[in-house]
Amino acid sequence: MGRALEISGLRAGYGKITVLWDVDLHVDEGELVTIIGANGAGKTTLLRTISGLVQARAGSMSAFGATSLLGSSAARIVRSGIGHVPEGRQLFPLMTVRENLESGAEYLSRAKPNAARNRKLVFDLFPRLAERGAQLAGTLSGGERQMLAIGRALMSDPRLLLVDEPSLGLSPALSLTVFRALRQINADGVTVVLVEQNVQQSLSIADRAYVLENGEVVKEGSGRELLGDPGVRAAYLSL
């Protein structure tokens, strides 16, 4: 197994505030890695920096052997095979579900030929999206939007999928659906990096996990290990 993602010394932030301080982490191909941490620890910023939405200040990043990705535009990052299901979903509200999905593949020469296959895959995962194909994305429910965001990212045929807080605002039943889908996606061969508030649920499906505190990686281990870690339990599981 090769490395899907390797990050070292990553530093990033907004304006005069630095959020990430020299973060090192790696993800192997096929893994499902979870990043947990308190609010404001820098989890979302980490994903946004990886996918090119936030400019890094220092550090290096390589994915699937391709180096010097840091500082590339979001468009270039997605072309290199990294899909991002962002915080807030970032859909196109005045386009139909179908148009939103297609947009995931439309501008990527790599993904375009596989659009039919990926569409089927998405509809199999989320049959609800197929039913709502002609509906405007802005009129969807929260859960449906989350499904669409994941579906749109899958349409880009990613080898690595970054998923930010998929269960946010969803009912327990819905978030279970979403987690199942993520595991399915991972089982189909897509490497997944998951940022999640629901620590119990996310650690239980994770191969490995990182704990982020104040912009620094403070712990690393398998999902199971961290679930059993007393510090983690005290801080994030309120146990």
Partner: protein, 288 residues
């Protein structure tokens, strides 16, 4: 009040909406896709009008032929302006964009003053400028009819482009969610560049029409710019189709008042802006 003029008033009003729509679509694209309030848009009209004039004086080109040259020229000018300045203020507050484009407008206006002087110019030979057809006692002008048809085609084409082409969908994607657009592999900056160039190109088309019906001067764009802004806002930002309805509403109202009220032509702007004001206020109260 002379009701015998009513049919002519209606026809004139409907046809006049064509020019209003024509000068508004480019601005709608700039505001709708890029979200930039371009105070220099009127100067693009002016440059288009002067280029058509220059092609006529230099080569005897008919303005319709000039369209083929002026439109791409404006696209290039728009692209250069975008690359050299606009792209640096995309994320800046709206007010910064206004000051920037206002500055660009001043530069263009005074460059034109240096090049062409302040006197009104004439594209002297436009064989269809004074052409009118009588249909059942109503006169239909070739130029208003032409600009009506052109603007219908343009709006329809633009609408089709936005709905059904990859580029159009890219523009809508960028307009609706800049972050999402980046995440699906769109180079947002490049889409904006194309949209701004297209906006300038459309302004060039409008400018050539203005050059036909009026005298090109460094300030010729002004009267149309304020109205184009108002029409775009009346239509709703980003609503390309709505341009037609908005343009029709105000053009028809203007024509009716100009015809039916004594000294009504002098009330044109008052009617126009009163409609804009009332509709905006009324709409804001209804929504809330």
């Amino acid at each position: 009040m002379d009701l015998s003029l009513l049919p002519q008033a209606i026809v004139s009003g409907v046809l006049a909406s064509g020019l209003y729509a024509l000068v508004s679509v480019g601005l709608a694209l700039a505001i709708g896709v890029i979200g930039i309030v371009n105070f220099a848009h009127g100067e693009f009209f002016m440059v288009g009008a002067f280029l058509a004039y220059q092609l006529f004086v230099g080569f005897g080109f008919d303005p319709l032929l000039s369209l083929l040259f002026v439109a791409p020229a404006l696209a290039v000018i728009g692209a250069l302006i975008y690359l050299s300045s606009i792209r640096f203020v995309l994320r800046a507050p709206e007010l910064n964009q206004m000051l920037l484009t206002f500055g660009i407008g001043i530069i263009l206006q005074n460059l034109a003053l240096l090049i062409w002087g302040g006197d009104p110019r004439t594209i002297a030979n436009v064989p269809y400028r004074s052409l009118g057809f009588q249909v059942g006692g109503v006169s239909i002008g070739a130029v208003p009819l032409g600009s009506f048809v052109i603007s219908l085609v343009l709006v329809a084409g633009l609408y089709w482009m936005l709905a059904s082409t990859p580029l159009g969908r890219a523009m809508r994607a960028v307009a609706q969610n800049r972050i999402g657009a980046g995440l699906v592999g769109l180079e947002v900056d490049r889409v904006y560049l194309v949209a701004f160039a297209l906006s300038a190109l459309l302004a060039g088309l409008g400018g050539v029409m203005i050059g036909v019906i009026q005298s090109p001067t460094p300030t010729v764009g002004l009267g149309f710019t304020l109205k184009a802004f108002a029409i775009v806002v009346l239509a709703g930002l980003g609503n390309i189709r709505g341009i037609l309805g908005a343009a029709l509403t105000v053009a028809l109202a203007e024509s009716l008042v100009a015809t039916l009220v004594p000294n009504g032509d002098a009330l044109r702007n008052m009617v126009f802006f009163a409609i804009i004001f009332v509709v905006l206020v009324w709409r804001s109260r209804r929504v809330a």
